[in-house]
């Protein structure tokens, strides 16, 4: 088997469903010698994080925004979120879902809304907790607006080839370098 680092697959939901794109990404990795077989036993943890029971060493995280779909694969837990910035009730969402430190930063730097959102979502996907009552209890930034590198994880902001911004949350032991693959 090929030793593989982070793999970021992109596709369009115009062509296939999320499940179809995931299947295509898995087959591509088998063809490349990265995975030994295409896993089939997709299941969820009690908190709703997906994994394959027949290949638990393969970690992955899916996100989509509009028709743009991405999936990040790695040998350690990962989380990913992409979000095309658009008009929304930013103040109400921040009041409800952001930590006070994030709200204070956002008040002076409104352009930080989607970077903060995608970092928070990528973190709860990495941890496997999902959006729960703790979502507003942690801050992904420090008082200077810098993304925090925490105990065992790191944030990597990125932009897809089609220009959709997002954030990856990786286990700290993973190299932040990643290969990109297009499924379209």
């Amino acid at each position: 088997m090929t030793e593989a680092g982070l793999r970021l697959f992109s596709g369009s939901l115009d062509s296939l469903s999320s499940a179809g794109l995931l299947q295509k990404a898995l087959k591509r990795q088998v063809d490349m010698g990265i995975l030994p077989f295409v896993p089939t036993e997709r299941t969820l943890t009690p908190k709703g994080k997906p994994y394959f029971a027949d290949l638990p060493a393969m970690h992955f995280s899916i996100s989509h925004s509009g028709q743009q779909w991405v999936c990040l694969f790695a040998s350690q837990p990962v989380g990913i979120d992409i979000e095309q910035p658009r008009r929304c009730r930013e103040e109400a969402i921040a009041r409800r879902f952001f930590h006070p430190l994030e709200q204070a930063w956002l008040a002076k730097h409104p352009q930080a809304f989607f970077p903060i959102w995608t970092a928070k979502e990528s973190y709860v996907k990495w941890s496997g907790c999902g959006i729960d009552s703790q979502f507003s209890q942690f801050s992904v930034i420090d008082e200077h607006g810098a993304l925090c590198q925490g105990d065992g994880y790191q944030f990597i902001p990125f932009v897809t080839k089609k220009g959709t911004p997002g954030t990856m949350c990786l286990s700290a032991s993973l190299s932040e370098r990643y290969q990109t693959y297009e499924l379209d």
């Binding site: 925004s65 028709q67 109400a92 979502e121 959006i131 009552s133």
Partner: protein, 75 residues
């Protein structure tokens, strides 16, 4: 009540021809941020707070309607 629920989701998402059985992810391709926007719209409209841990259980529009009914929200 149902018409109001569907109207709010149409306003937030721009999607039409909705029913109670419409699946927010499978049929409308919404993501969790879209669902959060919908939640905020409902909270604003009805003056309630939907528990954050309920968000992951909202898959169909019917789930929102059932939750509102449980909270005693009526027309």
């Amino acid at each position: 009540m149902i018409e109001k629920i569907l109207a709010i989701i149409t306003e937030v998402t721009g999607q039409q021809q909705l029913t109670l059985q419409t699946d927010l992810v499978r049929d409308l391709q919404l993501n969790s941020f879209d669902v959060v926007n919908i939640i905020i719209a409902f909270e604003n409209e009805f003056g309630i707070e939907i528990e954050t841990q309920q968000i992951r259980h909202i898959q169909k529009i019917k789930d929102i309607a059932d939750y509102l009914e449980k909270q005693g929200v009526h027309d």
